[in-house]
């Protein structure tokens, strides 16, 4: 993977920058394509899906829908590399992700159904520590702006995360999206326990990400309110 920084590929209207300052940052990858080739996955005895082929290109979002237990989360974990597929492979720019290993991890931001935040740390510490873990260290101010962008006011930034509500914890986890410069976002039910205002903000953020040439795979059973030409639906129940 080359480290070249490309200039922004798509012209954004000016107001867009005012709304989403991070969309100005260019993504540092060349082609950007995530491809699943004849994937098969079973959990225990049950076959969840087989011969699954799907392609996500830059600027588009794959919405994975399906009944509970249809393998949505498993598919996302296969995409992240956490779960090796039983058969088939996941290709990033034509290369198997299990060969790319850390190079691939450096391309993605994964937010699972667990929030991945520490109850004993404050939201601010959670954001800065998880960003620096991910190798995208951010300043305290950057983290504060991200938390505010997702609707967590300043007094909350310094409370221990254990006193927050479910929705607030989810927001802390999702605040990373405002700081991430990674081209591929893998989100597992990002809208769970979010209120409508936060859902709108996250959707806007997703839109900005796609607009600057990013990719996203989102597991959800809600409709994602994004322009239909950018959204590709994959129903695992069918």
């Amino acid at each position: 993977m080359s480290g070249k920084v490309y200039p922004r590929l798509y012209p954004c209207p000016l107001f867009f920058h005012a709304l989403f300052p991070y969309s100005r940052r260019a993504l540092s990858v060349e082609l950007l394509m995530l491809q699943a080739v004849s994937l098969r996955c079973s959990r225990g005895e049950r076959r969840l899906f087989s011969d699954l082929n799907v392609k996500v290109e830059r600027g588009s979002l794959l919405a994975v829908v399906g009944e509970n237990g249809s393998g949505k989360t498993s598919l996302l974990r296969i995409f992240s590399g956490l779960l090796p597929p039983e058969q088939g492979s996941v290709l990033w720019d034509g290369q198997d992700i299990h060969q790319l290993k850390e190079l691939y991890s450096g391309q993605l931001t994964y937010i699972g159904h667990l929030n991945g935040i520490k109850d004993d740390l404050t939201p601010l510490e959670n954001v800065t520590s998880s960003m620096s873990l991910a190798g995208e260290a951010c300043s305290n101010n950057g983290a504060k702006e991200a938390l505010e962008a997702i609707g967590l006011k300043r007094p909350i930034h310094h409370l221990p995360s254990k006193v927050l509500s479910q929705g607030q914890k989810r927001r802390v986890a999702l605040a990373r999206l405002w700081l991430s410069t990674r081209p591929l976002w893998l989100l597992d039910e990002p809208f769970t326990s979010l209120d409508t205002a936060a859902t709108t903000v996250v959707t806007q953020r997703l839109h900005a990400h796609l607009h600057r040439g990013g990719l996203a795979v989102v597991v959800t059973h809600q409709e994602v309110a994004l322009p239909s030409e950018t959204v590709q639906r994959l129903n695992l129940t069918e």
């Binding site: 992240s80 590399g81 956490l82 779960l83 090796p84 290993k101 850390e102 190079l103 991890s105 450096g106 993605l108 994964y110 699972g112 159904h113 667990l114 929030n115 991945g116 935040i117 520490k118 109850d119 004993d120 740390l121 510490e125 520590s129 998880s130 620096s132 873990l133 991910a134 190798g135 260290a137 221990p160």
Partner: protein, 227 residues
């Protein structure tokens, strides 16, 4: 991946673990208090005969240090596994073994280093001489990181298993036997006047071997746990 970013990742994980330990001081202090109490019980139970205490001292201190390490193994991965932080850590753009080394280093700093620092004081209770106290500290300094390294394999293997505390003891204690023999042996032989160097060298060899092999074994176990 460049070396600098690898050290950054290790530093980041260790700093975060230390910060978390500071927020939960009582948890971290528990294994140290356990060590102090267990070691102090022996003179009370066995009686104040100096010769007897001096004979059993090295063994008691080492067994207590080993059990204290065992008690704290649950903290290495379990909390991170339950709140999803481990998933995030596995997905950092670094080899998984690097993460393991960082977690083990954090574990040792929180539960191993205090044991090493307290050991001369506890050794005095058993009437160990100055020279043997020095050897005791050296043996623990070489031995406790090895205990943490080996323990991490067990801690990763039992992730997500109910009643994992006892299971990890069963898995890990047999592997601790050589460390215990060399560690206690170093102190005993220095008391006997033949010097503890041979045993200390063996402890050093164990440390190097575990540094080399344990991260990979642990990384494989973590991957399996997260599947």
């Amino acid at each position: 991946m460049s070396g600098a970013s690898m050290w950054e990742a290790i530093g980041g994980i260790v700093r975060r673990d230390l910060l978390l330990a500071m927020r939960r001081r009582s948890d971290a202090a528990m294994s140290v208090f356990f060590l102090v109490i267990v070691v102090s019980l022996f003179p009370l139970g066995v009686g104040p005969e100096p010769a007897v205490l001096r004979t059993i001292g090295p063994g008691v201190l080492w067994v207590a240090a080993l059990l204290a390490c065992l008690l704290s193994l649950g903290r290495v991965f379990t909390a991170d596994y339950l709140d999803g932080v481990l998933e995030q850590m596995v997905l950092i753009p670094q080899p998984l073994a690097v993460l393991v080394v960082a977690k083990v280093l954090g574990h040792w700093l929180i539960s191993g280093l205090p044991v090493v620092l307290l050991s001369p004081l506890l050794g005095l209770q058993f009437g160990l001489s100055g020279e043997s106290l020095g050897v005791l500290v050296m043996s623990l300094l070489l031995g406790t990181p090895t205990l943490s390294m080996i323990g991490a394999i067990g801690a990763a293997l039992v992730l997500g298993v109910r009643g994992s505390g006892l299971l990890v003891a069963l898995l890990v204690l047999p592997l601790y036997v050589p460390i215990l023999i060399f560690g206690a042996g170093a102190v005993t032989s220095s008391m006997a006047g033949i010097g503890g160097e041979a045993n200390l060298s063996l402890l050093g060899a164990c440390l190097v071997l575990s540094l080399f092999l344990a991260p990979w074994a642990t990384a494989a176990a973590v991957r399996i746990a997260l599947e």
